[in-house]
Symmetry: C2
Subunit: 457 residues, 2 copies
Amino acid sequence: MTLDAVLARIDETLPEALDRLIDLLRIPSISTDAAYAADCARAADWLVKDLQSLGFDARAAPTPGHPMVVGHGGTGKRHILFYGHYDVQPVDPLELWDHPPFDPEVQDTPKGRVIRARGASDDKGQLMTFLEACRAWKHVHGQLPGKLTIFLEGEEESSSPSLIPFLHENREELTASLALICDTGLYEDRVPAISTQLRGLAKSEFTIHAASRDLHSGAYGGLARNPLHVMAQLLADLHDAEGRVMVPGFYDDVDELPDTLRQQWQGLAFNHTTYLGDVGLSIPAGEVDRTPLEVLWSRPTAEVNGMWGGYTGAGFKTVLPAEAHAKVSFRLVSRQDPAKVLNAFRAWAEARIPADCRIVWHDGIAGSPASVMTISDPAFDAARAALTEEWGRPAVFVGEGGSIPIAGYFKTVLGMDAMLVGFAKDDDQIHSPNEKYDLSSFHHGIRSWARILARIA
Amino acid sequence: MTLDAVLARIDETLPEALDRLIDLLRIPSISTDAAYAADCARAADWLVKDLQSLGFDARAAPTPGHPMVVGHGGTGKRHILFYGHYDVQPVDPLELWDHPPFDPEVQDTPKGRVIRARGASDDKGQLMTFLEACRAWKHVHGQLPGKLTIFLEGEEESSSPSLIPFLHENREELTASLALICDTGLYEDRVPAISTQLRGLAKSEFTIHAASRDLHSGAYGGLARNPLHVMAQLLADLHDAEGRVMVPGFYDDVDELPDTLRQQWQGLAFNHTTYLGDVGLSIPAGEVDRTPLEVLWSRPTAEVNGMWGGYTGAGFKTVLPAEAHAKVSFRLVSRQDPAKVLNAFRAWAEARIPADCRIVWHDGIAGSPASVMTISDPAFDAARAALTEEWGRPAVFVGEGGSIPIAGYFKTVLGMDAMLVGFAKDDDQIHSPNEKYDLSSFHHGIRSWARILARIA
């Protein structure tokens, strides 16, 4: 069987694949820091050269920021786009790294062999799983596994400023029938998983103004409105005692979980005690009549991400401040519209504050809706079967509590669904010192893509 | 009449009195800044010399901080202590001063002539009204108006670290039958006033801890407890919808206002619309079934003076923080005990937070109780009559929303009641740039003390 030959080739050449990854990891492609712009360009060029060596027609396309790597190759009945990003997070605090972040090291740990470096897991190690699968395939078959477009971004860690314009400008070139995204992880660190729904996000920052200046709490305390009290009341009223969000209409466009997914999620036997226990908590918050996994994956939230006002320094100042501030974000699901949610929140908040206070909103009405993939596409079941074979455990469809904006943009700008498959582990310490990627994630990741591509491309 | 002769002498020598005040104001006796320690000592020496010129047996008594000025003189049936402070607030932001803060200037303003300098009102101008009254009295009578102790502090603006030990160590020397304190103002800028009750103060700073580290709101949002929500709920629950403080037992030791004071306060016709309107507010907060003046002077409060947590910088971070912080203070009245109030607050708060959160308290159980003067002492009515004569308006007994700790210490350490009489105006800009003292406050202040001393000493 030719797939077996591809898998064998992957196994045999793992050391070389690892060397290539280490080579890429040596390039400090930190996208947020202008000082590393040349390194970002260097990483893009490295990838273009690697893609060309695989037979792709590849280029580093300039943007106002860092270049996009785009490559086309292969033939087949279905056009598949693969997305990853070659930029990495900053490394500070550098003193917390046990080893220089851009001097990759293969280490043996109690949990197995790992590649330790910034970007090892997020996302260079993950994106290379796909390229290595293509390489082995090409070696065995003499051609790529299908009609493929490779699209690698260099600004994912710095809010992707060039992405949407680039998608618009290159719509035709980039629109495939399905996008594969490799930037997620295994479920509970062991179970191969396909993310089929991602929550969206809407953010709001605002100030409640009361008196025209800070007041002395002796001279005014009790009589003058304290905006910290107004803010506390407002934020407390955002949820009822059962954890429901109290903004009118908030749940209007929230769909119930389909029975098939509900059953499958029940089968995941998510252990919220462990999940919360790992971070020192024990009592689930949120809607009391929902399962913990629903709360995380398929229910919307309203969370205060920051609040501040009055005197916050050392010691005490008996001040009644003139203002109080908060940042509130909403995780969105199903068909919730960010603008509708934010407008409803604003109206709700403004109606609740005393008439001699006022709210100033510091941001526009914007956000990203949830992404819900069309899992009826046979590629999803095919990928599930492929992953099940590779990992020896039934692969699962999971949700993601967070947002992966690229999936939404592929849908809204290009009309293309995405399938998110990734091999990261919870302890990969992405965005933190001592980031690592398990060698098993890398190895089985490459093999997983070979199996998936054999079925869908 | 000899009082008339004293008053005439005051009128005639006002320019010289003003020169002396200006001389004292030139000394930058900023107590919080060690760089000005020598200036504080110089101000103390200046006052010692001035007291000696009036026949007082005076000295600058050393302390671990700045010296205390103590002077004794005169004879009489009643021993009266006078308290003021010679230290001043820092002057920054210096660029907001129209004139150097320690180069005093007499200016004509639309509201009358003023002395502009740091300390002009708080408290050098006020303390000099008493010394000038003594000076005129001495000139006319050849002796001081009674058995007097002058006690001038040099650390009032820096939390009086040496005060309580000094009172303890010099208890016998400093204990008189009544203390006069000149550090307050006219009621509504025109009505002579005697402060007969001051609210106390208890302070609490605490942190609510939830997760063991900051969490990503995508991965944990909804399921993990957000301590900002817990804090908002706690602070919102601190008051009910009618403005009452919900800590059990909070009102146990709060007395109703005596009928005599209630009637007198009603006569003050306090205009809360103007009072709040001056700072941009219109709706009284606090207990709905209490008059605004009660709320300010004779009712206790719970006020959040600072709260913070999560991401408070520019932009957005979708974090579920590990902790939330607050500073809460209580203005106390009647017989409320600071320790009892703080312990009740702690117990109340700890019982309300989720079982997997915890509160860490950052301060001890301390504070100052309210001061309620024994106005049955005939000195109070005598002073009221004297002030009424001088100002041509019925003098009033008022409360103070703030705390003046020295009054409490005189009571608790020395067992001595205090009568607070002062001539400052609301627009004196104490603690702010361009501090001033009205020449009319200075002039009538001196005359007021002459009249009061004629009646009580």
